[in-house]
Amino acid sequence: MPTSPKHFKDEIQDLLDNRLDARTRAEVERHVEACTECRREFEALRWTKSFVAKQFAAKAAPSELRENILRALETDAGGARTITLRPGFQMRKLKPIMTWAAALVALGILALILIPKQRSLTHVVARDFRSYQSEKLTLELNTPDAKKMEAFFARHGLPFTPHVYDLSAKDYRLVGGRVQYLQGRRTEWVVYGGPNNEALVCQMYVGNVSELPIGSVEREHRGKKFRMYQVKGVTMVFWQDRKVVCVLISDMPAENVVQLAFAKAPPL
């Protein structure tokens, strides 16, 4: 049985977790190769480790959690702090400044923790699209009804009047949507399914296309300017609609995305 002295036990786990020095590792590997029992044990444990790692890979936290944390940190930072001041000092004047300073510090720390590596906006937009395709990013409402989708966004307090395009004339049916954060902004994030089941996302947020990184291809249609980016096979076409930036995102052929944007963007 494997508990006999000639078999390894703890070392098999150490081999699995890469915790052996080179000499011991070579010795254990030789044994595992030659010993059926130990090899089977190693393979069973390796399978389990790999299976668990893949099955329990992180899924996205609820979208409102980040906002709740931010609010809690701001409240905490602005809360009571015991500070001794010389007599006659007007605490009333100092308090708002301290509150803001503490809130800024809290935001700074949160940013350090939450955003270890800042990516450009277009990379984040493309990454979110891929996350949806790999089901790491899930929809908060599944509906083919644009009015219901708009009502959902209205209930979730977006900083602009929600609008969900009807793309049925172009054979794109509404699938659903979610409130998605984009570099600290709450955005409307709507998914459509194409005639061949290709995914198309329309995202809207308060901002300006001038904030976008360099490297876009500029297109013009009916006097309106569009900026096209491609990141890792994902095409994004941005345009400005008053105070809102709209972007169509898909991994279908780039020209299809551009033509959809031309068709849906309101003319100047």
């Binding site: 786990q13 444990l45 390796r46 399978w47 790999s50 099955q55 329990f56 944390i69 720390i109």
Partner: protein, 174 residues
């Protein structure tokens, strides 16, 4: 933040509790930021806080880990592997082989004693070293190693039928 939320979710099994723990973790991290040593692993530090909150507020049965007999577990594990029906090849799963978490797998993880579950999640899912995981769970490295040792065997035994059913463990051609 997703990693923290997922860890909390696996520990509490309730999304609201998990959200509360993560929020409390960030608040405590902010309040005790002076304790964070620059140059050390920030993620591991956050998990240490998270686990401490979980233990103090949510842990239900601290003694359940002691109910597992290592001898019995070892015997069952090796009896299974020695069974002639188990002359098998183990095929590592790829992401494309499954698109969502299966209830059987969640159930298997939930059946693990909580300390074992935490050890597996930190090392195998979060990729922590033994030292980082032991620090987060506030236990010696040897204890962490022993929990992992048992946890993986228990998980294998729980998952074997399910895995064979859907073809992740394939019998080799004769």
């Amino acid at each position: 933040m997703d990693a923290l939320y997922n860890q909390a979710l696996r520990l509490t099994r309730h999304s609201e509790d998990a959200s509360d723990i993560v929020q409390e973790t960030y608040l405590r991290a902010y309040r005790t930021f002076a304790n964070f040593k620059e140059g050390t692993n920030c993620k591991a530090w956050l998990f240490t806080i998270l686990y401490s909150i979980f233990v103090n507020k949510y842990r239900r049965d601290q003694r359940e880990a002691n109910t597992v007999s290592i001898e019995e577990l070892e015997q069952t594990f090796h009896r299974t592997l020695a069974d002639p029906d188990w002359q098998t090849n183990f095929v590592a799963p790829t992401r494309s082989e499954f698109d969502s978490q299966e209830p059987e797998v969640n159930h298997a993880l939930a059946k693990l004693p909580e300390d074992f579950r935490s050890a597996v999640l930190l090392v195998d899912v979060q990729g922590f070293t033994y030292e980082e995981a032991a620090a987060a769970l506030e236990c010696p490295v040897g204890t962490l190693r022993s929990r992992l040792f048992r946890a993986r065997r228990m998980l294998f035994l729980e998952l074997r039928d399910y895995a064979r059913k859907i073809g992740f463990i394939r019998t080799p051609p004769i």
